[in-house]
């Protein structure tokens, strides 16, 4: 257990370092950081001085080490566009993205697993065929179009729900939440569906496929031969075995929700980090791009670790008990 965790942690650190290298390269090789900071008027001497001061003349490994050390403290410099520290800007906008991602993930996971199980158990029924066909449309629908269609129907035509922004927010400590006001919750509905729909269809199709696979296995056949009830077989045996492979892929999918939020946030003008990133790309705001990249990598790594732990909790085959010897 301990060795397993340590190995996973080491792998995570390697991933973070690789992504850090990409982010660092962005800083150093894309455009001229000095040019970006001081503008046209600065003299060559001033530039050289700043270069020395920022340590840009130091050897590459030293610069990278410094970058990593700073990044570990959340230090990514000053945004070129907004002239404010990147970590402050991101911290302001992160709650919006996290709340959106959390609600979508829950929505996608809950409905996705239920619909997937239903479609697998009733594979020859017409409702499950219908659900599968609709899900294929869901996979083919670009996220931004889903958003536009939802806005057109529910905001423009029916005028039930707001089409942009977060509604009223409440400051709770350092966290600005939209969960506590009615307009905040109403504003969350359309973006959350938009963001979650793709993951929902994906999870559903995955759960269905895995469950059908499990239902064909020998141990399910043997369970049937022992006369166990359908309930015990489907939900006791099949579902649990389905979840083992599903956990991994689903975990990764939910991790990418944060990144997919870029599109949803643009459509709904949702003031989160994704919208920040898009604007950063349009204005070539490198520090923000680099910081965002590292943030996504961090989410990915953390979710991966959680997935590993879950996996470990569900599947006894991974738990190698030191005490009991295997009898042969």
């Amino acid at each position: 257990m301990f060795a397993f965790l340590v190995r996973r942690l080491l792998q995570s650190i390697v991933v973070m370092l690789v992504v850090g290298l990409v982010a660092f390269s962005l800083f150093n090789f894309v455009g001229d950081p000095i040019h970006n900071m001081v503008g046209q008027e600065a003299t060559t001497e001033q530039r050289e001085e700043l270069r020395e001061q920022l340590g840009l003349n130091d050897p590459f490994p030293l610069q990278f080490a410094r970058f990593v050390a700073n990044a570990a403290q959340g230090e990514f410099g000053i945004s070129y566009r907004m002239a404010r520290p990147v970590d402050v800007v991101i911290a302001e906008r992160l709650p919006a993205t996290l709340e959106l991602a959390f609600v979508s993930a829950f929505f996608a996971l809950f409905l996705g697993v239920s619909a997937g199980v239903y479609a697998a158990l009733n594979r020859y029924g017409w409702t499950s065929r219908l659900v599968m066909t609709i899900s294929l449309i869901g996979v083919s629908l670009p996220t931004f179009l889903i958003g536009i269609l939802l806005i057109w129907i529910f905001a423009v035509q029916l005028q039930w729900l707001p089409s942009f922004g977060r509604g009223d927010v409440v400051q709770v400590g350092a966290w600005r939440t939209g969960f506590l006001t009615e307009s905040g919750l109403r504003a969350l509905i359309l973006p959350a569906i938009t963001l979650g729909l793709f993951q929902l269809t994906l999870i559903m199709r995955l759960v269905r496929a895995e469950m059908l696979e499990v239902l064909r296995t020998d141990y399910i056949k043997f369970a049937r031969a022992r006369g166990l009830s359908n309930r015990a077989i489907n939900f006791g045996h099949a579902l649990k075995n389905t979840l083992v492979p599903v956990i991994t892929i689903t975990g990764l999918q939910l991790g990418s929700i944060i990144a997919f939020a870029i599109i949803t946030e643009t459509v709904f003008q949702w003031p989160g980090v994704g919208l920040l990133f898009i604007i950063a790309i349009q204005f070539v705001d490198i520090p923000v791009m680099a910081a965002y990249l590292m943030l996504i990598a961090l989410f990915f790594v953390v979710i991966n670790l959680i997935v590993d732990l879950l996996y470990y909790a569900v599947d006894p085959r991974l738990r190698v008990e030191a005490g009991s010897a295997r009898a042969h």
Partner: protein, 326 residues
Amino acid sequence: MSVPGRNSPTSVARHPAERAGRPPSALARLRDSDLWYSFTRSPITVISALIVLLFFLGALFAPWIAPYNPFDPASLNLMDGFTPPMGEAFSGNSYLLGTDDQGRDVLSAILYGARISLFVGFCAVLFAMVLGISLGLLAGYKGGWIDSLIMRIADVQLSFPAILVALLIFGVARATLPRSFQEDMVIYVLIVAIGLSDWVQYARTVRGTTMVEKNKEYVQAARVIGVHPMLIMLRHVLPNVMGPVLVIATIGLALAIIAEATLSFLGVGVPPTTPSLGTLIRIGNDYLFSGEWWITLFPGLALILLALSVNLLGDWLRDALNPKLR
């Protein structure tokens, strides 16, 4: 395109002519193949194929069949702007799907837009395919640290959504390329960005097959007689992975079309001067609230129809060829 039926691993059909000792013609073999059988048995697939074909022809012959040329400023009549579908325009021209803010015919814009979307999609898939197959062959054949390096990069890249990777590459290109260059280059930057974000699946599939094939005797034999083994591998691995690669490429085409539209919608793709479907949707999105829904919804529907049809074709291909895909 070769006859797909030849590559079908599930093909067990024996043509009567074959039993009689005559080799059947390619057409007869196609008609008798499992692939053709499952194609004709699935009306949805046939309809999807027809829709995709229509889009191809429409995009290819857009200059000849589009009612108007949306890129010819001389033919634009600003007074015709915001004409609703089937509505009467100021100039007396009629527009089946209405016009946009500048009086451009939406139908014509869709035809020209699909041209760009399909072009970007195809080139991106081709780029990803060539890159993925080459890296997969290299990784599978060489093994060792080259293999580890390529597959690690693949793993890390897979953990980020393709759209983020494409956005990043696009951002880098924007920062490094001279500004004057960007307008002309943007389509190629898009192709590279989308292609680079989608090579991993090809590489994984090809690598797996390569690792199986490379230990077979004919490769050893080739080495003995001095033929470069990579050449032999190419000739023997490729036919083996044709099925899976075709499936990945078909689904990849749908993904690439969607990725292009998404990037253009996000404002980092094709510029409004030569709009793709995504750019059209972006332009129209501004007018959604003032009631001019047709400017964004028709290109949107066209995009959905195209992506869905290609996806359905890919789905059917996967089921029909049943390669071991995950």
